[in-house]
Subunit: 249 residues, 2 copies
Amino acid sequence: MLTSRFLMGRHREDLSEHELEALERAVGSVTTYAAREELVHHGTEIHHSMLLVEGFVCRYMDGLDGHRQLVALHVPGDFVDLHGFPLKRLDHDIASLTEVKVANFPHPDLSRLIVQHPNLGRMLWFSTLLDAAMHREWIFRLGRLGAIGRVAHFFAEVGRRLQMVGLSDGSLFPLPLHQSDLAEACGITTVHVNRVLRDLRERKVVNFKAGEVVVHDILALHALAEFDDRYLYPSAATQPEAKEKRRHP
Amino acid sequence: MLTSRFLMGRHREDLSEHELEALERAVGSVTTYAAREELVHHGTEIHHSMLLVEGFVCRYMDGLDGHRQLVALHVPGDFVDLHGFPLKRLDHDIASLTEVKVANFPHPDLSRLIVQHPNLGRMLWFSTLLDAAMHREWIFRLGRLGAIGRVAHFFAEVGRRLQMVGLSDGSLFPLPLHQSDLAEACGITTVHVNRVLRDLRERKVVNFKAGEVVVHDILALHALAEFDDRYLYPSAATQPEAKEKRRHP
DNA sequence: CGTATGATTGAAGGGTCTCAAAATAGGTGG
DNA sequence: CCACCTATTTTGAGACCCTTCAATCATACG
């Protein structure tokens, strides 16, 4: 099923069989893109939204000097540009990082879906607010963490999200990015990303190589990142570690 | 009307008189808070959402070392914690910056409202995605701009948003924050905020003093901030200045 | 008028950037 | 299978922006 990873580990269970079938039927078409292709350009009116089925996609904004800032990374199961449904046009660009497969949902069909299945509509809304929650965490990450913490947090988040959709066992997962992509995601230079990666490797925390992340010490990783997965709104307490780390009780 | 600033300048005109009345009727109660009060604590289940009627409110997250990062600033007309409607609990804290007045919308009433008025429901969704768009811009701001640019961008955004709800003429607006609040919003230290403000003052770009912002050179401000208001999804082109600044055509 | 809070300024240190070069990996054609 | 070419990773040295730590100044308030 194309939509089988949608909200997986994120309260997908709140959707009935009936609703899941309706969602699957709303798929208008399936498209594949090569790596490093622009999928959506900011400002252009869009008439369908894409659910990522396979591969990695990013959203980004370009600065005047050509510097790029990633504002989101998407993994399979993510409704990449559902924001464009209420917004009609996007304020940022979307591109594939790897070869990707996406399921397209025409907006008129989504409108009908929401009216016919209010609970499903609520969950679609919910899924866009998960993006917003991740945005907020990225703001925190960029505003309050140093370079090591930022990279560590990025690894921690992506690892946890891949785990939720069944693409990571928690200690090893694919992350087919260049160091320059990490730099654009973390708000630091590529050169410094390289030094940070060496540091993380020498500390035996994580090893990033050849598009793969191997986590050696997840507690140290989470500590460096001040990572607490509750902002990802996971379905249940799948990681019974110590909570109340960042936020006051 | 308590809700008269909701989506003002942000496609409020897409709502019918009928829908606006229904929204106004959904107000359960009105609450006032003193300055610097915590309105919502992260993690606690919430059963109503607040529309800001008067005053300023912020959302923030605290780091381990006590450092705080603002993730959003809210002005009158903003539906402060509508995110909590689909999310049920928040991942961050909300506090008043000034004395504030908020209109409370019980979630059961919102549920009914959305079913009865699908278009209004869509606009409520839309309003939460405006927050997400601002979050993205903040990510860009923190990831790609230096201290001056960050502060300039903050002023530019807040000024534009206040203008949209009729609380600024574009060159002067209230912003009752401490320099430490600016620091927490911009991811820099209070000390450095002070130096940046002096710089902006000496350059005759903006003057921030006694909770008020006076913009002397809005073009210079926008240039420093790489500011382009399109991410705010304004209703119409109210500012016919040169577009296509940041993003490629 | 004394006290608390916020704003301002100075000096030194550190984290990250910039510029530059070298090493490695990946892909292609001979 | 090697030679070559390009993209990416890695390393070094110096500069710069911002932080840290302190102290002083201004302002509001009892």
